[in-house]
Symmetry: C2
Subunit: 371 residues, 2 copies
């Protein structure tokens, strides 16, 4: 099976993670030598991973492992939010950023994207929205978030510029790197982000749910506040988070994940080449052009037209690809869909390109044949 | 290895769960046919598990799978809490109940236990504390919680009586069954609980973190409120929770878990027999007597005395047991410790009893020998 599902290309386990999954599968298996909290466990070496390797990897002062990127975002928002607070999201934000903000009681305002066909988010839009919020609510937003890249178009916004605008207004800036951390080099410090989150099962070759959370020294005390009742336990993490095989697969894959970032430029070249090949077949890639990420969104008017006449209707594309051992385009989609080329070789991607070519030619012949 | 760690005896994977772990290990592997939320996925049959099997099992109207019992408790508390709200906990409540309430901004007051040696919580104490809270804060508590059984002494409180007291004051009642659900028969309906939570990795033979949450029809809309922005997504669950191998191991073990509840009476008899045997060796079991659960707390003055003279000091017991392939008493503990007999055969428990006997006799001879 060649898998081009954007949700899955970065979450496929490494052989080391598969072994960890089996070794640490039982409930609470990591807790044999727990001195009070997950991040302090030294056998297995969770402490060193969380306190040394992970902050260095994220380019930030402090890190924790969470039950996912969304849980990390909620922890930050919940820790910072007071009554009548608000947040700025980019117009391409993932639904979990909205839902986390909603759960934390934050008013939400978005920096709109430029619409079809590029869906670009302009960093300068953050200043506009920040000022609008101040006018409407009477106080500045509590937090600003940028999705880097977003999960629909794979667009990469100038995060450094967003950070600097936010900091002009003294607003903490959260970088949602669910599709970046573990796929491409990224440093919260270089960007100027106060917080960074990543997803283990989306982009760090881990068994989910598991995520990572990075916090600057400035915000550490608020996010990692300890319980009044149990001094070792961090309130926003409910004491411990990924207490099982999930964190062990994250740790087991980590060396490979660090290694694979070195090949990011080739990943981008591969995505651009793949995009050009599909466009030659009559599809159109939306979002950033040239594209800077493996996650891409395509419009396919020709496939849509075929679906109107195909026996299996809008499911034809899913079935045709499945017959060719290609997985990852959502069943029922033909008019537009996203996919990812991450971690696949050019020869595997050639199989995908040839499959699209073959499907389009065959189906057109079949649908328009005189019988 | 014979494992008597209370955290681990109920979380050991079944062969079916081991297979599921391997099959569904990759990130987001369950999401291939997602119609919008985790609980609606029909392939694999997550929908039927969450909407049919689980509510029936918990004896409640509605259920969800969460990232753990603590996350389930927090979701309930956070959904119900307003400013200046409070919660009643039993004096034996798990630390995560305190931390979840703290995170939800609830004032906490506890129904004290009776202290050494029984540590009993009197259901009537709930009325006292409820009235004290009303006097102090000017309004009734938002929620009452009972830990059933608690994780220190394995004490079973008359939960039905607690429920009826809470309902006299019109206060919703949450049963924390992290050590009950999956080990012993329990029905929220029979108890009269409005909410029930359980732990997959603690007591349902699952790879964690994963938990279950049961809610009555009356409270459904508040706990499962949908997002204003994404109508399919439940806010308190941040859209989806256990989106991976964790839920698949829970589902894979479920038939065995349902089956093992039938042997609960024998589990209790075994625990009582084991307790009597250890008491014959000079240990003393605290908490409920006769005991009604596999989780037990022992005082061991003789082992403590030995530790004062042993070469390895307070680590001697851990090492001696480890040499005999017995695992689960925390390294460094001798004076008092908890353990669990769940799922172990009488012959395995006999090995544990004989080990204690042997260790006590050998060490006494060794420590007090003339050389």
């Amino acid at each position: 099976m060649i898998n081009i599902d954007p949700l899955q290309t970065g979450g496929k386990l490494t052989p080391e993670a598969r072994a960890a999954l089996i070794q640490w599968g039982d409930g609470y298996s990591v807790c044999d030598f727990c001195p009070g909290t997950l991040d302090e466990i030294r056998t297995p070496p969770i402490h060193d991973f969380i306190h040394d390797a992970l902050p260095e990897f994220l380019g930030i002062d402090h890190a924790r492992v969470t039950n996912g990127a969304r849980e990390a975002k909620f922890a930050i928002m919940h820790a910072l939010a007071s009554r009548n607070d608000s947040i700025v999201l980019d117009g391409n934000a993932h639904y979990t950023s909205f839902v986390a903000a909603e759960r934390a009681g934050l008013k939400i305002k978005t920096v709109p994207n430029s619409g079809y066909p590029d869906y670009k988010v302009d960093p300068e839009g953050y200043a506009t929205i920040i000022e609008e919020i101040e006018k409407e609510i009477g106080k500045l937003p509590t937090l600003a978030l940028l999705t880097y890249p977003d999960g629909n178009y794979g667009n990469i916004v100038d995060a450094k510029r967003v950070a600097s605008i936010c900091h002009e207004y003294d607003i903490p800036f959260l970088l949602n790197g669910a599709y970046a951390v573990g796929r491409m080099p990224i440093s919260a410090r270089k960007v100027g982000a106060d917080f960074i989150v990543g997803s283990g099962h989306k982009s760090m070759a881990s068994s989910g749910p598991v995520g990572v959370l990075g916090v600057t020294d400035e915000h550490k005390d608020k996010i990692f506040e300890k319980s009044k009742f149990f001094r070792a336990k961090e309130v926003e993490l409910l004491g411990c988070t990924a207490r099982g095989a999930t964190i062990m697969t994250l740790m087991a894959s980590f060396p490979s994940v660090v290694e694979r970032l070195k090949h990011w430029e080739e990943e981008v070249r591969k995505a651009q080449w793949f995009s050009a090949q599909l466009e030659d077949l009559g599809l159109k890639q939306l979002g950033d052009r040239p594209h800077k990420h493996d996650l891409m969104f395509f419009e396919a008017p020709n496939l849509y037209e075929i679906s109107q006449r195909a026996k299996d209707g809008r499911y034809f594309l899913y079935k045709e690809l499945k017959d060719r051992n290609i997985h990852g385009i959502k069943p029922g989609l033909t008019k537009s869909f996203k996919l990812s080329t991450f971690g696949l070789s050019r020869s595997e991607l050639k199989v995908v390109i040839d499959a699209f070519d073959d499907i389009i030619k065959n189906m057109l012949r079949h649908c328009y044949s005189p019988d």
